[in-house]
């Protein structure tokens, strides 16, 4: 039905375009050059007013229809089924009704459910037809209103352009809406989590065992949601990654800027870009398949016991992933140092190493530090490598050969499979997500500030 609605709206706006265009042509024939706008703009003016509002209406309808019908269904159920019942039970009831309505009957449903399913099917049908009717009538009303405004002196071009400007502003606002959506959903769910588990416990507790079945009276005493081991694990893996990536990336950038000729640069830079373009799931598989066994074997050859999903393997592979970021950001920073400084140093007789280490590097340091912070934020937020190669158990350790877990791993493991928005287990993932968002955002803002200020100082 939605497809037909879109199709009908598209057809109507094309028709509207031609109606408007022919009106414009008639005006031209009647009054010649006195017409304000070209026929194209008369057509476009009518077409956008017919198409876009109806389209938005139908999209909103599709988005809200399910919610409204579900609310109506719950309200229509007998009171004893819905009164004082948890929202998990309610959503179960709803999905049972949907299943019965779709003919997927597993156990004999109660008569109330069957009735509700019938109501659901009817309402669903009504809603779909209503959507089509509402959308089309909106389009047709718009067609008549817009058509009646056309006249030889009507500023159709300005009207159309105003409409397009409005659309473009809406697009830019959408980018803000995404941020608001992220913050709202994270904060909202995290607040519900902190209503169950006190924030002090979450931020300072040393024990993380979310998989335990938790009863309401058990939460405070069990102390199962202390996130410190997770934060420590995240920082440990990110630190290992930075330890791998920073020296390699920085030295690679130094070589590319100062020593390499253009032939080498043209080969090496795309190769590093390939490293940056490889999907993270591939790195994760690489860590599991090659690096982790290699680390384990190297450990046992030296007589050290290494956990099969050691922080070292996950962090090392993550280091490979962020290496190209560091090298390209350092490369940019070094290149942004004014040429005069470099030439001056060389002219004084400094070797290229001296120029690099005593002139270029100190001058570019803010940019490089900014790049390293950006890379660190990426390492903290990276998910797939650690999901595949790091551990699940939250152990509080700084030993890189042990298995640790990270914020992102916990978010994924807590939310994979069916999720209930009621249990602290699910909500904990949103609390972790909020922490992750705040930390990476602050790192980014600081890094961008540093880079920007540094850039300004040389411009």
């Amino acid at each position: 039905m939605a497809g037909y609605a879109f199709l009908a709206i598209a057809v109507l706006s094309i028709v509207a375009y031609f109606i408007g265009q022919s009106a414009g042509r008639r005006f031209q024939a009647q009054v010649g050059r006195e017409v304000h706008s070209l026929p194209v703009y008369h057509g476009a003016f009518v077409a956008v007013w017919v198409g876009i509002p109806a389209l938005i209406l139908v999209l909103l309808w599709l988005l809200l229809q399910g919610m409204v019908i579900n609310q109506l269904l719950l309200a229509s159920l007998p009171d004893d089924m819905t009164n004082g019942v948890s929202s998990a039970r309610l959503s179960l009831l709803l999905s049972e009704i949907h299943n019965v309505a779709a003919g997927r009957i597993f156990t004999e449903p109660s008569p109330a459910i069957v009735e509700a399913a019938e109501r659901y099917a009817v309402w669903e049908r009504i809603a779909r037809w209503a959507m089509l009717v509402v959308g089309l009538s909106a389009a047709i009303v718009a067609l008549f209103v817009a058509r009646s405004r056309l006249a030889p002196r009507f500023r159709a071009r300005n009207g159309f352009e105003l409409f397009v400007s409005g659309l473009m502003i809406a697009c830019s606002v959408a980018a803000i809406l995404v941020t608001i959506g992220i913050v709202a959903s994270l904060v909202f769910e995290a607040m519900r989590f902190f209503a169950i588990v006190p924030p002090t416990e979450f931020f300072f507790g040393l024990n993380w065992e979310p998989q335990m079945p938790i009863r309401a009276d058990q939460v405070a005493g069990a102390g199962a949601f202390g996130a410190i081991p997770i934060f420590v694990g995240t920082l440990l893996i990110a630190f290992i990654a930075m330890l791998v990536a920073t020296p390699i990336g920085l030295f690679a950038a130094i070589y590319l800027v100062e020593y390499a000729d253009s032939r080498v640069r043209n080969v090496v830079k795309p190769l590093l870009e390939i490293l940056a373009g490889i999907p993270t799931v591939v790195y994760g598989f690489f860590a599991v398949l090659t690096v982790a066994p290699a680390v384990r074997e190297a450990g046992s050859a030296m007589g050290i016991a290494v956990s099969p999903n050691s922080a070292l393997a996950a962090g090392g592979v993550m280091g490979i992933m962020i290496l190209p970021f560091i090298s390209s950001l350092s490369d940019d920073a070094l290149k942004a140092v004014p040429r005069a400084m470099r030439d001056g140093a060389l002219a004084l007789g400094a070797t290229r190493a001296e120029t690099m280490m005593q002139v270029l590097l100190p001058a570019a340091l803010p940019g490089i530090v900014g790049g390293i912070l950006l890379a660190a934020s990426r390492a903290i937020g990276e998910t797939m490598i650690v999901v595949m190669a790091a551990g699940l158990m939250a152990t509080l350790t700084l030993n890189p050969l042990d298995s640790v877990t990270t914020v992102t791993v916990q978010i994924v493991t807590l939310l994979i499979g069916d999720t209930e928005f009621d249990s602290p287990k699910t909500l904990a993932a949103f609390a972790l997500g909020l922490v992750l968002f705040v930390v990476t955002l602050s790192l980014n803002i600081v890094a961008l500030k540093i880079v920007q200020r540094y850039r300004e100082s040389y411009e």
Binding site: G66, M67, E161, V164, S165, M168, S172, A174, A175, I176, V178, T179, G181, I182, S185, L186, F188, E189, G249, A252, Y255, L256, Y259, A260, V268, I274, I278, P279, T280, V281, V282, G284, F285, F286, V288, L289, I320, L323, P324, S327, T351, R352, A353, E354, M356, L374, G381, T383, M384, M388, T408, I411, V412, L415, T419, A429, F430, F437, T440, N444
Partner: protein, 426 residues
């Protein structure tokens, strides 16, 4: 007069030469550090690619057994091919394949073929009803352990108790090899089958279709919105606090970890709007939110690259600001926008974490029929296979990764081609 002129330096003396040597040595050291850093990076890339190729090529080939099958007209009716007794047909064929075996030994021998062999026979008849009443050789995939044996992953020289197949099983297989019934073929199933519990039957069809739908949604949403926002911010927006806020916001959005977008999708699209789990539509929506900042940033850069003289010339002959953009600036910026779009979509194609949270990692054995049916995507399928215990899935995972990388290389290749062919330098 000047102290500098008075000071005499013995530039050719022993001390100066030693200093010079030290300084040149430092220079050489830095150069060597740089070269080895690049060497290490390229070596790591090489190791990554070679491991994938060496484990992955086995996923592209499949051992098949050509099984002589008699489609007895008593057991299957050409008019209703779905209802035949294929189980019986299969067991008769296996008896024929291993004359002289019976009972449990024959049943064990039958395990050389994939578990779903009878359904393969059914679809063979379904495709070609004239098979009924005839005896033909049908190529049936060998089950995972025998496939591994044929590919040389199971070492026949190992002692029996350390192998997955015992001597009896290996000798059965060798007997088939002598009869010329074992073939190694290109594994078309990798592209035309959907997921399966059996590695010999599992394929990427569902994941490829799912990824295609998700990318389609992503494209349809993120490109118009991204280009619209970029044109407004670059060409129309007044410079004030409000637009500055939008700008900072977009830059930061580009650096938000992908999993946070997954949380957003889970809470908003699934939780508040009640959209279905595992649907490519939701996956595409989440990916489009992630791609939006990339497209805005790239589009703004290519709009900036169009020289102001073009705008001024158009304005000078009486075009409105919108006409300047639509008729002149946007067409000139189009190659850059296209390149950026393709690169953004390639990133979206490789993105895994947000799709896991909205349930696109389900076990689904048929390609999705539409935007709302459950589906996986290429990277999530790789993740599922990487987690599967059967040995055969290792090769399949690598093969899946190679397919994904193939798509990415093609997309990026197109982007580079477009950039080189169409982009003008002013």
């Amino acid at each position: 007069m000047s102290s500098i002129a008075d000071r005499t330096h013995d530039w050719s003396g022993e001390a100066a030469a030693a200093r010079r040597r030290r300084r040149y040595a430092a220079d050489r050291r830095l150069r060597i550090y740089g070269m080895s850093a690049i060497g290490i990076a390229i070596l790591l890339l090489g190791i990554l690619v070679t491991t994938l190729v060496f484990t992955g090529y086995r996923g592209f080939i499949q051992t098949t057994i050509s099984l002589p099958v008699t489609f007895d007209a008593e057991l299957v009716d050409a008019r209703s091919p779905t209802e035949g007794n294929y189980r019986e047909i299969l067991s008769r064929s296996i008896e024929q394949l291993f004359p002289g075996l019976e009972g449990p030994a024959l049943r064990r021998a039958g395990q050389i073929l994939t578990n779903n062999a009878q359904f393969l026979l059914r679809s063979a008849v379904y495709d070609d009803p004239t098979l009924v009443g005839r005896t033909v050789d049908v190529a049936i995939p060998a089950s995972d352990p025998y496939d591994q044996l044929n590919k040389g992953i199971i070492d026949r020289d190992l002692p029996e108790n350390r192998r997955r197949l015992n001597d009896e099983q290996i000798s059965l297989f060798e007997q088939l090899e002598e009869d010329g019934r074992v073939e190694t073929r290109f594994n078309w199933g990798l592209f035309f089958n959907a997921d399966s519990r059996f590695p010999e039957l599992a394929g990427l069809a569902g994941a490829i279709v799912g990824s295609f739908f998700a990318l389609l949604v992503c494209f349809l949403i993120s490109v118009p919105m991204g280009v619209g926002a970029a044109v407004y911010l670059e060409e129309f927006a007044p410079k004030n606090r409000w637009t500055e806020l939008v700008e900072v916001n977009i830059n930061n959005l580009a650096a938000v970890p992908s999993i946070v977008f997954g949380l957003l999708g889970l809470a908003v699209f699934l939780g508040w709007f009640g959209m279905p789990r595992s649907a490519p539509l939701v996956g595409g929506l989440v990916l489009s939110l992630m791609t939006l900042p990339t497209i805005i940033i790239v589009t703004r850069a290519s709009l900036k690259a169009v020289p102001p003289s073009i705008r001024e010339a158009a304005l000078g002959v009486g075009a409105s600001r919108h006409e300047v953009i639509m008729h002149h600036v946007l067409p000139l910026a189009l190659p850059g926008i296209l390149t950026g779009t393709i690169i953004g979509l390639a990133q979206a194609l490789g993105e895994t974490a947000p799709l896991l949270l909205i349930g696109m990692n389900a076990f689904i054995t048929s390609p999705p029929g539409g935007l709302l049916s459950s589906s996986t995507a290429l990277p999530t399928q790789i993740f599922i296979w990487a987690d599967s215990p059967e040995r055969g899935f290792v090769a399949l995972t690598s093969a899946g990764i190679l397919v994904l990388l193939g798509f990415l290389i093609v997309m990026n290749g197109i982007a580079i081609f477009l950039r080189q062919r169409l982009e003008k330098s002013w």
